[in-house]
């Protein structure tokens, strides 16, 4: 039983413990791939395509240095990256690690150049000439489906990776719906921006006959599997080590063609090889994500209750299918999660994953859900406007109710727990909506327009085998493993196959160990990121680690506790049921043994142990699967107030409140950090970030001067209020919240900006809601008021 007085000194579940890893990070002692120096290491630079679509006619290597430049023809035995979805009708795209015959996006790698330094390698790249027969580029996903569009993968016959249908007959609903709203919405292609880019160092270990690859990755085990496949090695011959990783967000959850190239070259040359991605490579060639188009209808009764949602969604998947999540991850999710946290009678959705001459689309924090939340929340706002209701009121009328939990929604998502309407009510209260509406009515002295927006959503976290199998991804997660080992001096080593790139796993896994064993988190060493020392795992993604790995660690600790209790009882000369685990040791009626005493006796004084000691010793390997693998659903409501300058189109965030339910919080401070970070990214999605392309498929942002990210001055103070409804199916009641902040924020901001523009009759239907987009929308509405027929683009 915990009392109020010892709660502050607690270090277990629920404690806002400062982060163990910060000791090294704050002292500048983190160790990233870019810090690694190996004797004889040489640097790699890539020749990348300057054209979006073309046939390679000739590659001319620099005279006298031909041996330092490699093309696909030199990479004997290297297999292309193939990420085939298991969904019926999926068309496979083979991605050669260096272009073969064709290039399909600007930045695609054509050749690699090795030299003593990166600068010299870039010199070689600059001296390598490639002659192209340029082809028309497919730059827009909708245009890519038109007849006569250029074809990326000619043998397909079209540009569609996959088309999916959820069908329903809506005719009777259309006939009786008092409200019908329709929107066409577009989200920009974005570029993820982890502070640390990708980087790879590889060498061949002759003693172990093993390829060792250091790479900044979220899922080293999956990278190992993929590398082995592409290089034709057995997995035992490959060790992947991900040291400190400076942000992942999904970008580091894929197999890079660069990884395959660096690894092959290291094997081929016999010396260590390094490639460190620069920001231009990252922006232009590597980190694209998010681009969706929605054509969405909602039907509701006159009270604003949803009857049906009908949507045609496109995802611009880019040129290739990335390993392991595939080109269809986003669209497959769109179809299944578009209904959001709402109830409806009928649902129809068709999706297309379209191949375009742009880099492959990758999963980015929130995967699909950011766009989906924007689409469904925009349509809910539209329903509210038609019904003459406050937007939050329409949400309350359609959300799944707490007494209906657990609830199987229209796409068979199993919402496990929570009180969604309460999150909305609290968020509206936190933002003081009546005061905002009053301020809106009063008007601002500076002429800016006040807008209020909200978004409510649920996030399926830590979903497991059956869900991913259903989405057809080639890598299906199963039981999550953890390895635990006590040392003679009572240190607990925790080995987990997930990784930490901002998630604070070194701290939170130690807190779980503390919760079960009472061991000080400083005496827990969490080992991550090395396939040589950690158990096989699909890694960190999908808001799964604290539920899956955290639960596995908890189970392992409980097993260790049982074994130690057995020994302690024996040593105390008491029956097992007379002793208990208390404050980090075994306590009986006659005395107690501390953990470190028990471990010392176990390893060094085995003569004192009982004969029936557990044969597993003080090492545990365990795996965890939730009671059901349909996911732990966290949820949140974001409420935001903005001021929009109607003359310049610029938006300032005035107030921001989030009510969040992550179930039982392992470390509330860490959860807050996750929510802040995700929200900052959503602010980028909503207001700033856009990877635009010219008609020829040239990216228009190649530096961070052109690709605008929110900074400290653009991210406001955010108030977070927690609800803690325990997840019914997880070990400690925890839910994943890693992506949450990035899901609701963009939708809430769009809602707020459009609320501000409403008096002027304008609505922005795309992200980002940049000054240009806002002014265009205003000009369109002005023009529409003045005359009727107007051109699409208001500005020349």
């Amino acid at each position: 039983m915990t009392t109020a007085s010892d709660r502050s000194s607690r270090k277990g579940i629920g404690a806002s413990l400062t982060r163990k890893e910060d000791d090294r990070f704050l002292r500048g002692q983190g160790n990233y791939v870019g810090n690694i120096r190996l004797a004889g290491m040489r640097d790699l630079a890539f020749v990348r395509s300057p054209v979006a679509h073309g046939r390679i006619l000739e590659i001319e290597k620099p005279a006298g240095r031909e041996g330092d430049v490699y093309t696909i023809d030199d990479l004997a035995g290297v297999r292309p990256i193939l990420a085939a979805s298991g969904l019926p009708g999926f068309k496979r795209s083979e991605q050669p690690v260096l272009a073969r015959e064709k290039v399909r996006h600007v930045g695609e790698m054509i050749a690699m150049c090795i030299a003593d330094t990166r600068a010299e390698a870039e010199d070689l790249a600059g001296e390598t000439y490639v002659d192209f027969d340029e082809l028309p580029a497919v730059v827009d996903m909708l245009a890519g489906r038109e007849p006569g569009a250029a074809l990326l993968h000619e043998h397909w016959g079209d540009n569609v990776f996959l088309e999916t249908h959820i069908d329903a007959d809506l005719e009777d609903i259309k006939a009786r719906a008092a409200i019908h709203v329709h929107r066409r919405l577009r989200t920009a292609r974005q570029s993820m921006a982890p502070m640390e880019g990708r980087g790879v160092v590889a060498y061949w270990d002759k003693r172990l006959a093993q390829l060792v690859v250091y790479t900044s990755a979220q899922m080293p085990h999956i990278n190992r599997t993929g590398l082995a496949e592409c290089l034709g090695l057995d997995e035992g011959s490959v060790r992947v080590i991900s040291p400190d990783v400076g942000g992942g967000f999904g970008y580091k959850g894929i197999l890079l063609p660069e990884e395959v190239c660096v690894a092959w070259l290291a094997m081929h040359l016999g010396h260590p090889v390094r490639w460190i991605e620069d920001r231009r490579e990252q922006l232009v060639a590597n980190t694209n994500c998010r681009e969706h188009h929605y054509d969405i209808h909602a039907y509701a009764d006159r009270d604003g209750r949803l009857l049906a949602v009908d949507c045609e969604a496109h995802v611009d998947s880019g040129a290739y299918s990335s390993y392991p999540f595939s080109a269809c991850l986003e669209a497959a999710q769109v179809a299944s999660i578009l209904p959001g946290p709402y109830k409806m009678e009928r649902y129809r959705c068709r999706t297309w994953s379209v191949a375009t001459n742009k880099p492959p689309i990758l999963p980015y924090r929130g995967v699909a859900r950011t766009g989906v939340c924007y689409a469904i929340e925009t349509i809910m706002d539209a329903v509210a406007a038609e019904a003459g209701l406050e937007p939050y009121e329409v949400r309350l009328r359609n959300l799944v109710l707490p007494q209906e939990m657990p609830y199987d929604n229209i796409t068979h998502k199993h919402f496990d727990s929570g009180d969604y309407p309460e999150a909305v009510r609290r968020a509206v209260r936190a933002i003081d909506l009546p005061a905002v509406r009053e301020r809106q009515r009063r008007g601002e002295a500076d002429g800016r327009l006040i807008g209020f927006g909200l978004a409510v959503f649920c996030e399926q976290s830590a979903h497991g085998t059956s869900v991913y199998h259903g989405w057809g991804i080639p890598m299906v997660p199963g039981r999550e493993p953890a390895g635990l080992r006590l040392t003679p001096d009572g240190i607990l080593e925790v080995r987990a196959g997930v990784h930490s790139h901002g998630q604070s796993m070194e701290t939170t896994l130690a807190q779980i160990a503390n919760e079960v064993l009472g061991i000080d988190p400083q005496r827990v060493r969490v080992v991550l990121g090395d396939t040589g020392t950690t158990p096989y795992s699909t890694g960190t993604w999908g808001s799964r680690s604290i539920v899956m790995a955290g639960s596995a660690v908890g189970r392992g600790c409980k097993e260790l506790r049982e074994r130690l209790l057995h020994v302690g009882a024996w040593l105390l000369g008491e029956p097992l049921d007379a002793v208990r685990w208390e404050e980090g040791g075994v306590a009986g009626t006659s005395g107690r043994f501390e953990l470190a005493e028990l471990t010392r006796i176990w390893y060094l004084q085995p003569q004192r142990l009982p004969v029936d000691v557990h044969v597993g010793g003080l090492e545990v390997h365990t795996t965890y699967q939730a009671q059901r693998d349909s996911g732990a659903f966290s949820y949140a409501c974001h409420a935001v107030v903005v001021a929009v300058d109607p003359e310049l189109g610029k938006t300032e965030i005035l107030d921001y409140a989030i009510v969040e339910d992550g179930g039982v919080l392992i470390n509330p401070m860490v959860v807050d950090g996750q929510v802040y970070g995700g929200t900052a990214q959503g602010i980028g999605t909503a207001l700033y970030e856009e990877m635009a392309y010219s008609e020829e498929g040239q990216p228009l942002a190649s530096t961070l001067a052109d690709y605008i990210l929110p900074g400290a001055t653009e991210v406001p103070s955010i108030r977070i209020e927690h609800m803690e409804s325990p997840a019914p199916y997880t070990e400690f009641g925890q839910k994943g919240i890693g992506e949450s902040g990035a899901i609701g924020s963009a939708a809430a901001l769009a809602s707020a900006v459009n609320d501000a523009l409403k008096p002027l009759g304008a609505e922005v239907s795309r992200m980002p809601l940049s000054p240009r987009a806002v002014l265009e929308a205003l000009a369109r509405s002005e023009a529409a008021t003045a005359a009727r027929a107007q051109p699409e683009e208001a500005f020349v």
Binding site: A119, Y688, A705, G711, E714
Partner: protein
């Protein structure tokens, strides 16, 4: 990206710097704070074979209060101006602008002369110096010459600087005690390059009533007599200035510049520095 190979020089005198540039035969570049040239070299957009580093030139960091004007060494950093470590002839305009250039890390290294020589239309000093009709003192192999700021910049990233010339100093005339100024910069976020700049100065003592429209395709457009915009707003006067600056009516760029110009004019009636 790493820069292409170049030879590095750290001359001790202006004459030496100029001689090095002259010898480099058009392939040399002078660098001061390296906040623009450095990234361009790393992106290989600029590939000088000779890099002449001006940061050891003490004479470029000297400032002199000449009474009627202040002479700034071209190597004065934005931060020195922001922090008031050098005299201010502009009743607070220059510190106001300096403190809003990019981010502090950039301001610590970036220099007044470097920014002018780089001549990015969206940067601040090319606009402010044109507004204040500053005099740029250029040093070359044949000695020094001076150029009015409004005539220095020929277009985006192009100036009258010869390949073997550097900016040595900038002379800014002192505003009269009753002068008023305003500066309006529109950008997507703090620290970014401007999408529109407009500024006014109204000095009863000298009779100067000047305005600029900046962050356009080329050099800032100087409105030598901005009375029509200062004494009550004139739409036709504004429109003709904006079009003369190369802006196309109906475009996004025209709209944001028009708003910037009007807001700058409005702010002129407020106390200097009460800008916001």
């Amino acid at each position: 990206m790493k820069a292409a190979a170049f030879d590095y020089h750290g001359p001790a005198t202006v004459a030496e710097a100029v001689a090095l540039l002259r010898e480099s035969d058009g392939m040399g570049k002078a660098v001061a704070g390296s906040q623009s040239l450095g990234p361009m070299m790393n992106l290989r957009l600029a590939q000088p074979t000779q890099l002449v580093d001006l940061r050891f030139l003490g004479e470029l960091r000297e400032c002199r209060d000449e009474g009627a004007a202040v002479l700034f060494g071209a190597g004065v950093t934005h931060a020195a101006i922001e922090d008031g470590k050098v005299p201010d002839p502009s009743l607070g305009l220059m510190p106001h602008v300096a403190g809003r250039i990019a981010y502090r890390a950039v301001r610590n290294r970036g220099t007044l002369g470097g920014s002018l020589a780089h001549a990015d239309p969206a940067a601040d000093w090319v606009n402010v110096m044109a507004l204040l009709d500053a005099e740029l003192i250029l040093a070359g192999p044949d000695g020094e010459r001076s150029v009015r700021a409004g005539e220095f910049m020929l277009g985006a990233f192009t100036t009258v600087l010869a390949e073997d010339e550097i900016i040595k100093a900038v002379r800014v005339r002192r505003l009269g005690p009753a002068a008023r100024w305003s500066y309006y910069k529109f950008n997507r976020k703090t620290g970014e390059f401007a999408e529109a700049i407009a500024a006014f100065v109204d000095d009863p003592e000298s009779g100067v009533r000047r305005a600029i429209v900046g962050a356009v395709d080329g050099a800032p457009y100087v409105i030598e007599d901005a009375s029509a915009l200062i004494d009550g707003w004139s739409d036709p006067a504004a429109a003709s200035a904006l079009q003369a600056a190369g802006l196309v009516p109906g475009s996004y760029e025209y709209q944001v510049h028009r708003v910037a110009l009007r807001r700058a004019a409005e702010r002129l009636s407020r106390p200097n520095g009460a800008q916001q």
